[in-house]
């Protein structure tokens, strides 16, 4: 059969997508898959038998804990992220813009020092519980985090921005007259939210749930730092690895990905049952106004309180960075403040090298992921072809696998020459890290972009074509501006995370491209908590600046899409 224009376009789109996915995702991952079927150099199912047999008790417990924690993390992040997004996008109040920028700050927190900041804040010896104890003269501290609650708290804190960002961009794409119609039919605020707004956010929520679920499944720092003894699959993988049992680590990784991918398929099915394209006649975008000032101010104060809580860890980090060595060891409260740590840091002439490296590599990766993400999600959402689910799975693999496993895969795939590395050995070169970041963050951008694309009415694109615009032009001038909020939020999240990326960086960095996170880790290893925190503060401020600039220059455009 002759290919019609549609099919030709689809094919044209799919070729680059497939090349990248096969070359940089599938090919490296195959090694892990094969490894899981190897035992003492022979092909066997022994590892899986072990997993479900002799080691079942620990492994299944870990698996169950992982799933349980991940589901709860999704729930908690959603509970924080959605209302915040709603408040900041639906109510206009003084400082809204400022607060809404702050709302994504948790992601800026460098993972390791971030978790430590949490412990300084909420741990048994933490600032908050002790401050409350001292303030109210309690005999005991009222609460403290640790164990599962700690993991969940940190997860919710660090992962709610996925919900926040996707919800925000999806909210802006909802035709307000839909909500108005529901109010008009007598629905109360909550039921409009439940029955109309929330379901219409589905694509965004599905995207965020997937991201959060998978990160939690693969999350390492939080369970490791906060509940060393608590068995989860990602730690199990790590321990198998440090114990030298690589085959078991691979097997566990495969199973972890399988669970994540099942979740993906489930969510796809869930989303596929309904239609979320805004297809009203004309543009009904009269933003409804708010009358109830009491409610408004309630929400605002809620928002402000939330902001304070969100920034507490950053504040702790700041405090830590200002406490000179020995100034806060056994004491409940820090004893002295100085700029000593910063002075020490800035004395090092190479201090800015890692910063520069991180920024350059993240920017490179983000440009790649921006372009690739848009094309891929467009193919996934707006084109129909056989094997869509498979493509979707491929896209999510870098996110479903623990970061260390991704790093290992890359080492195995690129420590020899291959066509995908243009015949060079990439391991040990500068380019391996930007590549790793690129691969790691493909899913993030693809998901957040897809979420917005799902809501876009097809006829807008058709109108452009009808006016004679070629596909590329249409794409550039019509599709991209409309989905910009989603792409942007995905890319910004990717950027922020790339700047702080640790688990794959630590495996792949070289002397020439040492990123910030490694530097912080090294300070920590030398027990220079203060300097590590100071470094963390530098990272936080840098990212904040980048975000600010990005919003200023790109966000303005995307606000207009309404």
């Amino acid at each position: 059969m002759k290919l019609n224009a549609e099919n030709r376009k689809t094919l044209l789109l799919l070729i680059p997508v497939l090349v990248v996915l096969i070359g940089y995702v599938l090919y490296p991952s195959i090694e892990t898959l094969l490894e899981s079927f190897r035992k003492n150099g022979l092909f066997s199912l022994q590892n899986y038998q072990d997993f479900f047999g002799t080691k079942a008790a620990a492994n299944l417990e870990a698996l169950w804990h992982s799933v349980y924690i991940s589901l709860l993390s999704v729930l908690l992040s959603a509970l924080i992220g959605i209302p915040l997004a709603y408040i900041f996008n639906r109510y206009d109040f003084p400082g809204r813009q400022f607060f809404s920028n702050i709302a994504i700050m948790p992601i800026v927190l460098p993972s390791l020092v971030g978790v430590m900041a949490f412990m300084f804040l909420y741990g048994e010896a933490g600032l908050i519980p002790n401050a409350i104890k001292d303030l109210f003269n309690l005999a005991e501290i009222p609460f403290s985090i640790g164990g599962v609650s700690g993991i969940l708290l940190v997860h919710a804190y660090t992962m709610y921005p996925y919900f926040y960002m996707t919800t925000s961009s999806a909210l802006n794409n909802i035709d307000p007259s839909l909500e108005e119609a529901a109010y008009n039919l007598g629905s109360s605020k909550t039921s409009v939210f439940r029955k109309v707004t929330f379901p219409l956010l589905t694509p965004g929520l599905v995207a965020a749930s997937l991201l959060v679920f998978m990160v939690s499944m693969a999350s390492f720092s939080a369970p490791f730092l906060l509940a060393g003894g608590y068995r989860v699959l990602s730690l199990q993988i790590y321990f198998s690895k440090v114990n030298g049992n690589l085959e078991m680590a691979a097997t566990q990784s495969v199973i972890l990905s399988a669970v994540s991918i099942s979740f993906l398929l489930f969510m796809r099915w869930y989303q596929g049952r309904k239609d979320y394209r805004m297809a009203s006649k004309g543009i009904g975008a009269h933003r409804s106004e708010v009358s109830n000032s009491v409610l408004k101010w309630c929400l605002v104060s809620l928002g402000i309180v939330a902001m304070i809580i969100l920034l507490l860890p950053h504040a702790t980090l700041l405090i830590l960075s200002l406490v000179p060595e020995g100034g806060w060891t056994w004491q409940t409260y820090p004893q002295a403040f100085s700029l000593e740590n910063f002075r020490l840091l800035f004395e090092d002439p190479d201090i800015w090298d890692p910063v520069k490296n991180s920024l350059i590599m993240s920017a490179l990766a983000c440009i790649g992921v921006f372009i690739f993400g848009i094309i891929t999600s467009y193919a996934l959402v707006k084109r129909s072809f056989i094997g869509k689910n498979l493509l979707d799975i491929l896209v999510m693999i870098p996110w479903a696998l623990p970061a260390t496993v991704v790093g290992m895969n890359l080492i195995l795939a690129f420590n020899q020459a291959s066509p995908f590395s243009f015949g060079k050995v990439l391991v040990g070169t500068f380019w391996i890290l930007p590549l790793a970041y690129f691969i790691r963050f493909i899913p993030l951008v693809v998901r957040s972009t897809s979420a917005v694309l799902e809501q876009m009415d097809d006829s807008i694109e058709e109108a452009a074509q009808n006016l004679g615009a070629r596909w590329l032009y249409t794409f550039r001038r019509v599709v991209i501006p409309i989905i910009m909020p989603g792409v942007l939020s995905g890319t910004l999240l990717a950027f922020v995370q790339a700047v702080g990326e640790f688990p794959t960086s630590v495996l792949l960095y070289t002397i020439g491209n040492r990123p910030i996170s490694i530097e912080i880790m090294n300070q920590l290893r030398q027990f220079n908590i203060g300097q590590a925190a100071a470094y963390g503060m530098i990272q936080v401020s840098l990212i904040a600046i980048v975000l600010f600039v990005a919003y200023k220059f790109l966000g303005v455009k995307s606000e207009n899409t309404l």
Binding site: M119, V148, L225, N415, G428, I511
Partner: protein, 346 residues
């Protein structure tokens, strides 16, 4: 501390020790993988570069990471020298054929227990394991004096343990506890029981050393087991309220070493560096400034905390120890570690 190193520069290293000799032309660069931290490393970078016309570059990372990395770079080695890791890591690397043989000029000054029999690595410093306690909470008299004292029910919920699976130090201590009885009984059961009891007294497994220090310092718990140099360093340099007890019955002593990477791109410069970091002056500097106990026996005027302490090393067959340790730790992880307790920490 990064700045103030110049005044303590040791006298020029005596040339006769360097059999890599300056007569031969060295490569212009040497790459060192080391967990010693940038303070030590940049200090040594300056000194080494002052002495030789070689650009020293270092990657500062954990010893386990170094092993992983050297392994992953096997086809395309990037590093020349691996400076600093417990001997078990070196043994593993040796087993996998990642190291090159080198017998340094100071070989005679090293006791046999501090170098590999095939000279695949040699020791630079030793780290005895100790019981660490918080001086604000416990007086020196009260403090447990031996390993078995830790099992006393009065320490219930007072012990913070760095999560052992990922920590060389902790693996060594735990395995040593099993090994003590295994030596005689050929069975780990008694050791397991010991660990079981320790687990009962343990309040928390901390994921990394910093957290452990913090929890002990702030009095969340008051006891831990750790290594001596770190403990001293924390107490003297960082102002932590820590002190230590060397267990009476003997303690495992880890050897930290240095090794050359096989097929290293700059083998000559690597050898020069190998020699350079274990000169007498360097060893003394490390001891005084960075709290490392030297392996060389020919160093004089060591600080008091080294000379005054009487370390009784435990007698360990490291080969067997290494072989069994994996199994024991796995047993601990799956059968002994009380995850219920962990979870219940609200």
């Amino acid at each position: 501390m990064a700045g103030g190193s110049s005044e303590e520069t040791p006298e020029k290293a005596s040339k006769d020790e360097g059999n890599a000799g300056s007569s031969e032309k060295l490569e212009d660069k040497v790459v060192v993988y080391s967990p010693h931290g940038s303070d030590i490393l940049s200090d040594f970078e300056k000194q080494f570069e002052a002495e030789y016309d070689v650009d020293m570059q270092f990657l500062d990372m954990g010893s386990q990471e170094i092993l992983d990395r050297v392994r992953s770079e096997k086809n395309n080695p990037q590093a020349d020298v691996w400076w600093g890791a417990p001997q078990v890591n070196f043994d593993k690397a040796k087993e996998e054929g990642l190291l090159a043989k080198y017998k340094p000029s100071y070989a005679d000054a090293l006791p046999d227990m501090y170098h590999d029999e095939d000279w695949m690595w040699s020791g630079t410093s030793i780290t005895p394991e100790v019981i660490l306690y918080n001086t604000k909470e416990i007086s020196p008299e009260e403090a447990p004096q031996d390993w078995d004292d830790l099992l006393d029910p009065k320490w219930k919920d007072e012990i913070i343990i760095r999560y052992p699976l990922a920590s060389g130090t902790m693996r060594t201590i735990f395995s040593a506890m099993v090994y003590r009885t295994y030596q005689e009984t050929e069975s780990p059961e008694e050791g397991y029981e010991w660990l079981q009891k320790l687990d009962e007294n343990t309040k928390e497994y901390a994921a990394n050393p910093e957290i452990m220090y913090n929890q002990v310092a702030k009095g969340v718990g008051s006891l831990s087991v750790w290594n001596m140099p770190d403990t001293v360093m924390l107490a003297k340099e960082k102002g932590y309220p820590f002190d230590y007890v060397i267990p009476e019955s003997g303690t495992p002593v880890l050897t930290e070493g240095i090794a050359l990477v096989k097929d290293a791109p700059h083998p000559k410069a690597a050898k020069a560096f190998y020699e350079f970091v274990n000169t007498k002056e360097a060893a003394k500097l490390l001891a005084e400034k960075y709290y490392r106990i030297p392996t060389r026996e020919d160093i004089e005027d060591l600080p008091g905390w080294i000379t005054e302490t009487d370390i009784k090393p435990m007698d360990i067959d490291w080969g067997l120890f290494q072989e069994k340790s994996q199994e024991w730790m796995e047993h601990w992880d799956t059968k002994i570690k009380n995850t219920e307790k962990d979870k219940s920490q609200q």
